[in-house]
């Protein structure tokens, strides 16, 4: 059974009282989001992990000190803190001139895992050459849809259908692979 997450008000109150269980709970609740945000902005697994750690250190410290006046504002507070940490990291990286290199990276290796590769393989296998070409042109070459439609002789609504069908298939396959 899935463990029920306490409300943000409870978590904030518990942290103020110094309960470490509440600190773990707040980390579990928002860590994935902070990590995703950092990874999508910085495109570096190490930097994303650093941002995650640094963000929660600051959030928990602030909560212990009672700096958050309204517990309902906790998600926004976590987001704001994460963004600040990300900005600091970007500034630091600019100094190190690493950001340009990261921007030139063509793929998104951070979100690729073996299950993604396997699921995508199976999705591709089901697609017709023209449908595959559409996905490549749309997500990889990032061409505008009307240009793709004209080039492949497909209607724009057909393109949207291909995309949503492929995504649905991918979602099913991926969740099945992860569960197994």
């Amino acid at each position: 059974m899935q463990k029920e997450t306490p409300s943000d008000t409870t978590l904030v109150d518990d942290i103020r009282r110094g309960e470490s269980v509440a600190e773990t709970a707040i980390y579990e609740k928002y860590a994935a989001r902070v990590y995703y945000l950092a990874l999508s902005e910085l495109r570096s697994i190490e930097d994303a992990e650093d941002v995650r750690v640094e963000t929660f250190l600051r959030v928990i410290k602030a909560l212990r000190n009672g700096q958050l006046r309204s517990p309902e504002a906790l998600p926004g507070f976590v987001l704001g803190t994460a963004k600040n940490v990300i900005r600091e990291r970007i500034r630091q990286r600019r100094k190190e001139e690493r950001i340009a290199q990261a921007d030139n990276e063509p793929g998104d290796p951070f979100f690729i895992d073996p299950w993604v590769k396997q699921a995508i393989k199976q999705v591709i296998r089901r697609l017709k050459p023209r449908e595959q070409a559409f996905l490549v042109m749309y997500f990889y070459q990032e061409l505008p849809p009307d240009q793709i439609a004209a080039r492949l002789n497909l209607k724009p609504e057909r393109l949207r259908l291909i995309k949503s069908r492929a995504l649905k298939h991918f979602r099913e396959l991926y969740s099945r692979l992860v569960k197994n």
Binding site: Y36, G76, I112, V116, I124, V136, Y140, Q141, L167
Partner: protein, 281 residues
């Protein structure tokens, strides 16, 4: 930011592809920080796009059609055009085959049957005419002499003699006008016959039925003033139980006539019926 807005505007995909402005971006970030469903969708979309990009880069996906102008002309117009032509050809072939193999033989059979029926009808008509002519030929007697001797003409003996003459060649010809005489009540229209100027004779068809005890029949024609203008005697019933009386058309002008039919038993004659006849010339 609402879910419907996120779905309709494809916010998740646009967020990943950096197509949102700063406000939209911040708004969506605030949303997925509290919304589990949107965060799950965001991660799935991120993985999907990353997977597609990875597949494209590693050559897993077909990139043959991604270059401009590489879509085969077969796909653009030739294939559909060919398909339409092929379907039209198939339909046409099927129609022609159906006409040749089914419809045409049917029509031929129908034509043969109709032709056969028409020939049968003509043969039947010819037989009746032949029968009529034979009877007229048999009745050939000397001028002015009564065959039965029982009836004496009171007026116009020259007209009576016309009856006993040998039938003219015209009568033997096929198209003798004929009228079926039926009894009429007072006030009812008379039986009518239209005679063309070329008609030399016409025939009256009188149904007598099987119940009468008469060997032969006598038919008399009277004009409007009641004068006897034609007399036919010793007429036999045909196979269909009818008496056919053939008159010379010359004696009949346009007008009303009365036709009387008598049965001729061995003893004396008896009136069987009287018929109104209107002749139109």
């Amino acid at each position: 930011m609402k879910h419907s807005q996120i779905e309709d505007q494809q916010i998740v995909e646009r967020y990943i592809r950096n197509q949102l402005n700063d406000d939209q971006r911040s708004e969506f970030q605030a949303h997925f920080f509290v919304c589990d469903e949107c965060f799950t969708n965001l991660q799935t979309m991120e993985r999907f796009i990353a997977g597609i990009r990875d597949g494209a880069e590693s050559g897993l996906m077909s990139a043959d059609l991604t270059k401009p102008g590489l879509l085969p002309f077969w796909n653009r117009w030739f294939k559909p055009a060919f398909a339409i032509t092929a379907i039209a050809t198939l339909v046409l072939t099927a129609v022609v085959a159906w006409l040749m193999l089914v419809r045409l033989p049917d029509l031929r059979n129908q034509l043969t049957l109709e032709r056969q029926a028409r020939e049968d009808l003509e043969i039947t008509k010819q037989r009746e005419i032949d029968e009529l002519n034979n009877r007229l030929t048999k009745r050939e007697v000397p001028n002015g002499q009564s065959e039965s001797g029982g009836t004496t003409l009171q007026s116009k003996p020259d007209e009576v003699s016309e009856v006993n003459r040998k039938p003219s060649p015209e009568l033997i010809a096929r198209n003798v006008p004929i009228v079926a005489l039926a009894s009429t009540r007072s006030g009812e229209d008379a039986n009518q016959i239209k005679l063309s100027p070329n008609s030399s004779h016409f025939a009256c068809w009188i149904e007598v039925g099987p119940g009468l005890d008469s060997d032969s029949f006598q038919v008399e024609a009277f004009n409007e003033s009641g004068a006897l203008i034609a007399l036919l005697r010793e007429i036999k019933k045909n196979r269909k139980g009818a008496v056919i009386a053939t008159f010379s058309a010359q004696k009949f002008s346009s007008g009303d006539y009365r036709i009387r039919l008598y049965g001729l038993p061995k003893s004396d004659r008896s009136l069987i019926g009287e018929y109104k006849l209107h002749v139109d010339k």
